[in-house]
């Protein structure tokens, strides 16, 4: 597979995953660059057993975990709820609502543990199958299902309680 194809296929997925995982756009961009570079360096190891997106997300998770363990261990644990920071008031109303909502969702996600956040993102944001998620997280599909169920419950609880 050519790097350009793999890159196009996985660019938004990797970036989105990292934005949700770090809640920091700039950091997500830097980590994405690292992921894409790793993809380029190890393209020969990609055997096509999974899709390029699944492979990229697996790398993204490893990059995120390495970064978080070294630099920001707080990203791995459930965080306290933080009130929304000010959104630029000059934005049109609808855009402002969207931005507010996106940030609200990200904040809610940060209240989940890393593995819950990951499973939720991979299923509901990346729309991967249970098997693909299991491959990325080195878990069985059954464990993924039960963890996803718990993560969704928890997310809803946080989301509703904070509104």
């Amino acid at each position: 597979m050519k790097f350009a194809t793999a890159y196009e296929e996985s660019r938004d997925a990797v970036y989105g995953y990292l934005v949700y995982m770090t809640k920091d756009v700039q950091l997500a961009e830097d980590l994405s660059q690292e992921v894409f570079l790793r993809m380029f360096l190890h393209l020969d190891k990609f055997r096509g057993q999974a899709s390029a997106r699944t492979w990229a997300l697996r790398i993204a998770r490893n990059v995120f975990l390495t970064y978080a363990r070294k630099k920001q261990p707080l990203l791995l644990i459930e965080q306290e709820w933080e009130p929304l920071s000010d959104i630029n008031e000059n934005l049109p109303e609808q855009e402002m609502i969207n931005k507010e909502n996106a940030q609200y969702v990200r904040d809610c996600l940060m209240c989940l543990a890393e593995s819950e956040r990951t499973v939720l993102l991979l299923r509901d944001f990346e729309e991967l199958s249970y098997e693909e998620i299991a491959r990325i997280m080195d878990l069985s599909a059954d464990v993924v299902k039960s963890r996803l169920y718990r993560a969704r419950q928890k997310f809803r609880k946080i989301y509703e309680s904070m509104q």
Binding site: Y15, V19, Q33, F36, F40, N101, L121, D124
Partner: protein, 288 residues
């Protein structure tokens, strides 16, 4: 769609592809540099032993590095007493590292030095690359690969030499065989068609393991070239008609072989009746 799915807002990549392309370009350039430097290093390693004849100090120093590292490794592994002992018998035909085997010597002196040259210059190129791409951990992997290859090469040299030594002990014959003799005229080497031919013809006659009490004082050194790649040094007692290997195994000799050795050592005579003048003559391989 799953009923309990959580709807998360879409996110599109905002990053700059230029940055990534820049890193990839740097990686490609760095990799190319490593390959070029490694090839240069391999070539420099190949000619590293020529440092002795270089008269310009800076290039002498640069060229000498791979060879000196190789020498340090083998001297460390083999020890320093063996080279001196062997040098006195070999007239520089074989080198000190593995005097029994030309192939082992080639691996030790040339191949190992080439690999060390490649490793050194490849590593230099590694450190000139983009630090974000060519990280220390990647360098360690690169270096570990080189160490493995060099270790395997050293192992191969030892294995080839061990085989040669075992063959020497068993006096395993080859198609071509020639001899080195030493007598009071001190010619460190001598050889002659007639002499070599007669020795080769009679060497394997009656050759079988025997148990004898060795008389070390009356033993003479005889070197045997087996083909182009193997050399064995033996102690021959022409009076008792035995040959002792380096590890002390004794073999019986044919009377004819012992007679030729005796005539050469005592009377400086070749089998065709000519007299050895003490001048070293070329060794000629004789097909057996």
């Amino acid at each position: 769609m799953e009923p309990d799915k959580i709807l998360l807002p879409e996110i599109t990549y905002q990053g700059n592809d230029k940055k990534l392309m820049e890193r990839i370009t740097k990686f490609k350039a760095g990799t190319f540099r490593i390959v070029v430097f490694t090839i240069v290093g391999l070539i420099m390693g190949l000619y590293s032993h020529n440092y002795v004849s270089d008269t310009f100090f800076p290039t002498k120093l640069i060229t000498a590095v791979p060879y000196k590292i190789t020498e340090t490794i083998y001297v460390f592994l083999i020890g320093t007493d063996a080279p001196g002992r062997w040098n006195s018998y070999y007239c520089g035909w074989l080198t000190e590292f593995f005097p029994h085997s030309m192939l082992a010597t080639l691996i030790a002196e040339t191949v190992t030095t080439m690999l060390i040259g490649g490793a050194i210059y490849g590593s230099l190129a590694y450190f000139t690359g983009d630090k974000r791409v060519f990280t220390l951990s990647r360098f360690l992997k690169f270096f570990l690969c080189w160490c493995t290859v060099i270790t395997l090469c050293i192992g191969a040299a030892y294995a080839v030499n061990a085989k040669a030594v075992a063959d020497n002990e068993a006096l395993r014959r080859t198609e071509r065989i020639s001899f080195f003799l030493y007598n009071e005229h001190g010619g460190s080497s001598t050889g002659d068609n007639a002499l070599s031919r007669t020795l080769a013809d009679s060497f394997f006659d009656d050759l079988k393991p025997v148990t004898v009490t060795r008389d070390l004082e009356k033993e003479s050194k005889v070197g045997v070239y087996y083909g182009y790649f193997r050399y064995g040094l033996y102690s021959v007692n022409y009076e008792k008609q035995y040959l002792a290997t380096e590890q002390g195994k004794t073999w019986s000799l044919s009377p004819e072989f012992a007679q030729v050795i005796k005539e050469f050592i005592e009377e400086n005579k070749f089998p065709d009746g000519t007299i050895f003048t003490g001048e070293a003559t070329e060794v000629t391989e004789v097909e057996k």
